[in-house]
């Protein structure tokens, strides 16, 4: 009889699962096109009407954040991919085949998390650096102030933009573990990132300031911008908070998986 499978075996199995369906590649392509394409589009628009900007506008111009604007669209692509890594198994029923092969459910979740984390940390960093470099090249060609990675604050902003997307992949995955259907998971995910901030905007401004800095989208903004907005947490605190949210969501999903019938 063969040796006992290790976490590495389960992880390799999950990696094989991820890369053997076309949907994964379509998702990754969407992710790349959104982030890099929007970086190109927005920076080109800025370049074309730079001359019409007021002096104050020119002074307030942030070349880093504007080149990373695609991140706010890509966050939906990564969330859906993270969610589908588990919800597609519930949709097809293959979760039962999976659990029959890997009855240690916590072990299974860890293997899936490793695959998602490594895959998406790599992809996200590639994407955000590409978007940043493309945007800066366009600014440079238009003689507009541009940023370089030799500035440590800007470098940090780019790196943590990628990390923000990585964490959101895990948030999508964790919600998928809890909710089990793709459509419900995506609804809740979009609500969290898009609808809740709108609701908060209608609250009295004294409340707003207290609540809005805790929203995942605002934590992301702090993580990926070189300057600190007055009402936000620092990028460090923001990263810790969002990691904490992610851990709680994935933890709750894992707990439910170990309790529920498949």
């Amino acid at each position: 009889m063969s040796a006992t499978p290790t976490l590495l075996d389960t992880t390799r199995s999950e990696w094989l699962k991820f890369r053997t369906v076309r949907a994964s590649f379509i998702g990754v392509a969407t992710f790349f096109v959104l982030t890099i394409g929007l970086a190109a589009l927005i920076t080109l628009v800025i370049k074309s009407n730079w001359s019409q900007r007021s002096a104050i506008d020119k002074l307030a111009f942030d070349p880093v954040t504007t080149s990373l604007v695609g991140v706010f669209f890509a966050e939906f692509a990564v969330g859906v991919m993270g969610a589908r890594f588990v919800t597609s198994e519930y949709a097809s029923g293959s979760i039962r085949t999976t659990l029959a092969a890997v009855p240690r459910r916590v072990h299974l979740v860890i293997a899936k998390l490793i695959v998602l984390f490594i895959t998406f940390v790599v992809l996200s960093e590639i994407v955000v650096f590409a978007a940043f470099e493309l945007g800066q090249a366009i600014y440079k060609s238009g003689h507009i102030p541009f940023a370089t990675l030799s500035n440590s604050t800007d470098l940090r902003a780019v790196i943590f933009a990628g990390f923000y997307l990585t964490l959101l992949t895990m948030v999508g995955f964790g919600l998928g573990l809890i909710l089990r259907t793709t459509s419900t998971t995506i609804s809740i995910y979009v609500t969290l990132l898009l609808i809740v901030p709108i609701i908060v905007a209608f609250l009295p401004s004294s409340w707003q300031n207290d609540i809005s800095k805790y929203l995942p989208s605002n934590l992301g903004r702090s993580m990926m911008s070189p300057d600190l907005a007055s009402q936000s947490f620092s990028w460090g605190i923001s990263t810790i908070l969002l990691t904490l949210y992610t851990a709680v969501i994935v933890g709750a999903g894992t707990f439910l998986l170990t309790r529920r019938d498949a």
Partner: protein, 305 residues
């Protein structure tokens, strides 16, 4: 050895499995027979750890399934042939399972060949017929060369040739000393494919035994054809027999032996042309046993107009 130990499973208000307690022995094909909704699939799901029992447990060689690190080497199960990601190829589906249980990829090609789906191994399983999916599911069950095999309604979707193949396949698995546990709601199927049969209804154990044992416990009837069926019928009723007239001067008699029927006819001077004991079919036995426990029985015999 597969053991079901006082197993109960409740879903909300429904007690799907009610204190089942039996053993499935190696070396024979054991049939798990019951009407639809009687708890067969639930029992199988608990065995492979998909559902948590409300009380009791199912053990494989003394261990519950959840404790296996490489379960495919212990138990091979085919519960739902369509529980596959339709976008993945057959070969990749099996490779994912093999990888998680440290089974070499060479084995994947072997089992694909064995069940006869090697020619479509690189096609997406979403396009497979139910029969092909069943075969792929069987390949998955065989991956780890396990000592215990579970099949839930395996003949569904198979063509006659496939059914024949699968029966012989179950026999050969049992002959190799494996435990083979096969569920079905079709008694005719169980009669030809199983050595031992466990009958359940509404989640409860009803009876178990070999096909012969089950049919012999049931009271058989006697077919008698005679010169005067009307008179013979009266005579037999007077002798406390239960008589039902059939076509062609025949009577179906229950509650009497062939000797008693022959003697009664002789005494009444009726000529007997044929006197045959009718062996109860497994189907009759099954209907008898589960009549009270049909979850979704036919309450109306005529189509309401």
């Amino acid at each position: 050895m597969l053991k079901i130990e006082h197993l109960s499973k409740r879903y909300g208000d429904t007690l799907a499995v009610n204190d089942l307690d039996f053993e499935v022995k190696p070396g024979v094909v054991t049939g798990f027979l019951g009407p639809n909704g009687s708890g067969k699939s639930t029992t199988m799901r608990v065995i492979i750890g998909l559902d948590r029992p409300t009380s009791g447990r199912a053990t494989i060689n003394g261990t519950t399934y959840g404790h296996f690190k490489a379960p495919l080497h212990e138990v091979g199960a085919l519960l739902d042939a369509k529980a596959l990601d339709p976008a993945r190829s057959a070969r990749n589906h099996l490779r994912v399972l093999a990888r998680a249980n440290r089974i070499p990829f060479k084995r994947v090609d072997e089992v694909l060949e064995f069940v006869g789906v090697a020619s479509v191994a690189d096609k997406k399983v979403g396009g497979f017929s139910l029969g092909m999916s069943q075969r792929l599911g069987i390949a998955g069950a065989l991956l780890g060369d396990p000592g215990i095999l579970l099949f839930d309604e395996p003949v569904n979707g198979l063509d006659p040739e496939g059914i024949r193949w699968i029966r012989e396949f179950f026999r050969s698995l049992a002959k190799e000393g494996r435990t083979v546990f096969v569920s079905s709601h079709l008694m005719s199927e169980m009669a030809v494919s199983a050595d031992q049969i466990i009958v359940i209804g509404r989640g409860k154990f009803i009876t178990s035994g070999t096909v012969d044992e089950l049919t012999s416990t049931a009271t058989g009837t006697i077919f008698v054809r005679s010169s005067d069926p009307a008179k013979l019928g009266q005579v037999l009723r007077d002798a406390n027999g239960v008589v039902e007239p059939l076509h062609d001067a025949g009577l179906s008699v229950a509650g009497l032996t062939t000797n008693q029927v022959g003697d009664a006819a002789f005494n009444a001077s009726i000529r007997v042309y044929e006197l045959t004991p009718q062996r109860a079919s497994l189907e009759d036995v099954f209907m008898d046993l589960t009549a009270d426990s049909l979850e979704y029985g036919h309450k109306v015999t005529e189509v309401p107009s």
